[in-house]
């Protein structure tokens, strides 16, 4: 008798805890960001939040019915209480009822779900377009109408803190792992169409506050859209496993007023021109070496190590490497296009011509390597122009 009671008390506590946890989720007063889906800042995120809550409440309702019946039965219908087993084994009427009623509930759910989906999948009538390309492990944003493009990577502070046993406390880093060097800037109150693709493997572009995610797939261009109501900074992450640094390619959307957006566009174009001039000019070897050291530290040292000794077996040493001490064009080819079947990816689209030229020049003249030569950013730019971008649809 006593043992049976413990069972009941135990089961009841377990049930109460589980029910409380669901209710915690369902209670509107407690729907903070850290426990429930965000309401977000777009029509899609609003409608998804409403759908989510509707279905959640229906599930809670059905759950309360099923679980309370079960626990009533556990309390009343047990041997220790002297209850004798009934011997009924079916009831056609009951079975029809609990087939038909769920079907009706599902139809009730399917209607709003269908309406929301049809709206969500309609990118027509957009005011501007942004092309998003996923790389291992950064995002490239292109504004074809504004003639702007840039690469967005994990910010330096997060990148330093996220190294294995870095000794840096992530809680002291601003927006740890959710911050980038160059955010995607969008105007509020405009319907923005996104064209989403990838250059190497599949990624997924997701900002919860916008209400959806979409896969970025090499060879495919997916469409999506957004319409942001309020200015603000909205953060997200790549949502499809894309290799070693999948957890380290965040997305930051900075939504600004149209005026601020226009001003940002002008600044961006001016900066582009400056960069263009930098690429065209003749660099001295010292300049290249100095810049190359920075690029190497942030982009290459993760695998090839700061001392150029590599990390066996996957990441070969650059110190004394045949490639780095061989013909310049061979090394440039590997850096630009990657090496199939290894972790070495194609950097052609991920780094500027200046960065590539500097990094190549640097590696050829340190770690005891003495190729002694240098390559100019303009030469890399020529190669970049000649070759088609990878992975985009025809």
């Amino acid at each position: 008798m006593k043992k049976e009671n413990t069972v009941i008390v135990g089961l009841a506590v377990l049930a109460a805890v589980i029910a409380a946890m669901w209710l915690l989720l369902a209670a509107p007063a407690l729907t903070g960001n850290h426990i429930n889906m965000t309401r977000g800042v777009t029509p899609q995120s609003e409608s998804n939040y409403d759908l989510h809550m509707t279905v959640l409440w229906i599930c809670v309702g059905i759950g309360v019915l099923v679980y309370s019946t079960m626990f009533t039965s556990i309390v009343l219908h047990r041997k220790s209480r002297g209850h004798k087993a009934a011997q009924f084994s079916h009831s056609t009427r009951a079975e029809i009822i609990w087939t038909v009623i769920p079907v009706l509930i599902l139809v009730g759910m399917a209607l709003p779900a269908t309406r929301a989906l049809i709206k969500m999948e309609d990118p027509s009538g957009s005011d501007m377009t942004v092309k998003i390309t996923g790389f291992q492990w950064r995002w490239k944003y292109e504004y074809p109408d504004q003639n702007i493009e840039f690469i967005s990577s994990l910010d330096a502070a997060s990148n330093a803190a996220r190294q294995l046993n870095s000794g840096i406390d992530p809680t002291n880093v601003d927006n740890y792992l959710l911050n980038v060097d160059h955010p995607l800037v969008l105007p509020v109150g405009k319907k923005v169409k996104f064209l989403i693709t990838a250059a190497d493997v599949i990624h997924a572009w997701w900002v919860p506050a916008l209400g959806w995610k979409k896969d970025a797939i090499p060879g495919f261009v997916n469409e999506a859209w957004t319409y942001i109501d309020e200015p603000g900074i909205y953060r997200g992450q790549c949502a499809e496993l894309c290799g070693r640094d999948h957890g380290f390619m965040p997305i930051v959307v900075k939504a600004v007023t149209q005026d601020e957006f226009d001003a940002w566009t002008r600044r961006q174009l001016a900066a582009n021109q400056e960069q263009q001039a930098e690429t065209e000019r003749q660099w001295t070897r010292d300049e290249l070496m100095q810049h190359g050291k920075d690029v190497y530290t942030s982009e290459c040292a993760g695998c090839h190590q700061a001392d150029g000794k590599g990390l066996k077996p996957a990441f070969p040493a650059l110190a004394g490497s045949k490639v780095v001490n061989g013909p310049l064009t061979d090394q440039v080819d590997i850096v630009m296009n990657g090496r199939a079947g290894t972790a070495m990816s194609a950097w052609r689209q991920k780094l500027s011509s200046t960065d590539i030229a500097a990094a190549v020049t640097y590696t050829r003249n340190v770690f005891g390597n003495h190729a002694g030569d240098a390559i100019q950013p303009s030469a890399i730019a020529d190669i970049q122009r000649r070759s088609e971008p990878l992975g985009t649809a025809p």
Partner: protein
């Protein structure tokens, strides 16, 4: 039909009929065995070892996720752990465990002397240790284990080094083992039922396994095809999934999930069967709605072939496709609901006692239903654009697989262990194992719903500090759940080798069915002469039979 078939095969067994002798010598007994009970034992030991191996990998994952920042492993190794954890648990722990139960129980439940194809049975098992030795050995190779997730999506998976070939061949071997196992089960059930064991008298566990075996036959070759195409893309320059060569990376996902969705039912349908055996036993009451349980299982199996793309709503399908897969997925909740309602009705007005198998069975119904609810939420395509690839999905499928499939496996172990060994397990330690498991599995997985909804993607080794609290709770639950499973191992070892309490043939007061008419432990060769089955010997008399 069964009478004739039975007489046909009887002479083959004459040689074994006279005594209860087991083969002499360790190798003869275990390596060359063709006995369904021995092979069942081998499967179960193997799956328990794999369960502990996969669990150890889960511990690595939860340890790294204990707090923000990378403290223990490099991201690449973390990805290998998530990938291997899933492959080992799905193909090494849950599936072989169910085949082990099928081997032990199906012949005893339908009154057959053994499986229909005993030598193939030996081979289906002995392939597995080699397959998993190959798979696990990749962790020690230069290029490391597979790190692209158990779904093996290209192009990412094609970045695996040369060890990839070992992964593909091990999946081939697991597939061959599963296909042979299911052929054997189908042949046994269709041909070797004792006279009077009609289809609609079969125990639910036999029914669910029959349907599961057809699912396996249908989808394992599809998986084999998919991984073979990956193999040739990787090593022989084909472009099945390479967009730059005219291939289609999304096509892999369609093929994979055409296998993958039925696969989740392969893991859960036998669990449905076991629960449908255990609840009536401890409620001392017939299973409610036996025929509708059979039809619901069959409907779930059929529907499982037309819902696969709900795993890939975000790849950019046409609207019509998204709507179709949403509706079809929602529809699955109808037969699943019928099952849950029938289980609750089985308990209703019963005469329940709460031994360990019953506790696990009740926890299964409660917690599997929770996984069902989050599954229904995930079916809503638009909302899935938020849920997809987050910890909400991780919480969902772990609820259906751990307190779902794994709890059902534990319930089945406690239920039949006294029958197999002739000894009672320790009820006290069984209950301790149950309560710790039931509590910590929720501490482990429930907070993951919150993490996913709050925006934490799955398969990341490190996260923003806003996710720290629930990750720490989840990790604590994980460690405790992991340690608790050592109790399970202890209870089994104690029952097999040490327990002094003998089990009767009946074992459980409310148990019914042919397996309980045998002694505990059953003779090495049971039902050498087929029993003639009458309605009062089986758990599930046909509707037209007299009431029990």
């Amino acid at each position: 039909m069964s009478d004739i078939t039975y007489t046909d095969i009887e002479p083959l067994h004459e040689a074994h009929d006279e005594h209860d002798h087991k083969p002499k010598g360790f190798l003869n007994r275990w390596l060359f065995t063709t006995n369904h009970k021995d092979i069942g034992t081998l499967y179960l030991i193997f799956s328990l070892l794999m369960f502990l191996t996969g669990g150890a990998m889960a511990m690595v994952i939860r340890a790294e996720l204990f707090m923000p920042g990378l403290q223990l492993v490099e991201p690449e190794f973390f990805n290998q752990m998530t990938t291997m954890h899933a492959l080992v648990m799905v193909f090494g722990a849950v599936m072989p465990a169910w085949v082990g139960f099928a081997n032990w129980m199906i012949p005893m439940m339908i009154g057959a002397p053994d499986m229909a194809l005993p030598r193939m049975n030996n081979w289906s098992f002995w392939i597995l240790p080699f397959a998993f030795a190959m798979l696990l050995s990749t962790l020690f190779m230069d290029s490391g284990g597979p790190a692209a997730g158990w779904t093996l999506y290209p192009p990412l998976v094609l970045q695996t080094g040369d060890s990839f070939a070992f992964v593909v061949f091990s999946v081939h071997m697991m597939g061959i083992s599963s296909i042979m196992g299911s052929i054997n089960i189908i042949a046994t059930i269709t041909n070797m039922r004792a006279p009077g064991m009609t289809l609609l008298r079969m125990p639910m566990f036999v029914w669910t396994w029959l349907i599961t075996a057809f699912l396996l036959l249908a989808v394992m070759p599809v998986l084999a095809g998919a991984v073979t195409m990956l193999l040739t893309d990787h090593f022989f320059g084909t472009n099945f999934f390479n967009a730059a060569g005219g291939g289609d990376p999304v096509m892999f996902q369609h093929i994979f999930w055409f296998f993958g969705h039925p696969e989740v039912y392969i893991m859960i349908l036998p669990a449905f069967g076991v629960i449908s055996e255990i609840l009536p036993t401890f409620a001392r009451k017939p299973l409610f709605g036996y025929s509708s349980m059979v039809y619901a299982t069959a409907s779930i199996a059929l529907l499982s072939f037309i819902v696969w793309a709900h795993h890939m709503f975000t790849v950019g399908m046409p609207l019509q496709g998204e709507l179709f897969f949403m509706y079809a997925t929602m529809l699955i909740s109808v037969p699943t609901g019928v099952k849950v309602f029938n289980w609750v009705s089985t308990m209703w007005q019963g005469e329940m006692t709460f031994e360990t198998p019953m506790l696990f069975a009740i926890a299964f119904v409660v917690l599997f239903t929770m996984g069902g609810f989050s599954g229904l939420m995930l079916a809503i395509t638009a909302a899935d654009f938020q849920y997809h690839d987050t910890y909400f999905v991780v919480a969902h499928f772990h609820y259906v697989l751990v307190p779902g499939a794994v709890f059902a496996l534990m319930a089945a172990t406690y239920y039949w262990l006294p029958k197999w060994t002739g000894n009672m397990y320790s009820e006290k330690w069984g209950k301790i194992h149950f309560w710790l498991s039931a509590i910590f599995v929720n501490v482990l997985f429930f907070p993951q719903h919150f993490l996913g909804l709050a925006g934490m993607p799955r398969r990341i080794p490190d996260y923003s500090p806003q996710f720290a609290d629930f990750n720490m709770i989840s990790s604590i639950g994980g460690f405790a759940f992991g340690v608790t499973q050592l109790i399970f191992v202890g209870v089994i070892l104690h029952c097999v080798f040490r327990s002094k309490v003998k089990a009767s043939g009946q074992v459980w007061e409310g148990a019914r069915g042919l397996e309980w008419t045998l002694s505990s432990p059953p003779p090495y060769h049971s039902f050498s002469t087929p029993p003639v089955v009458t309605h009062n010997m089986v758990r599930h008399p046909r509707d037209t039979d007299a009431a029990v």
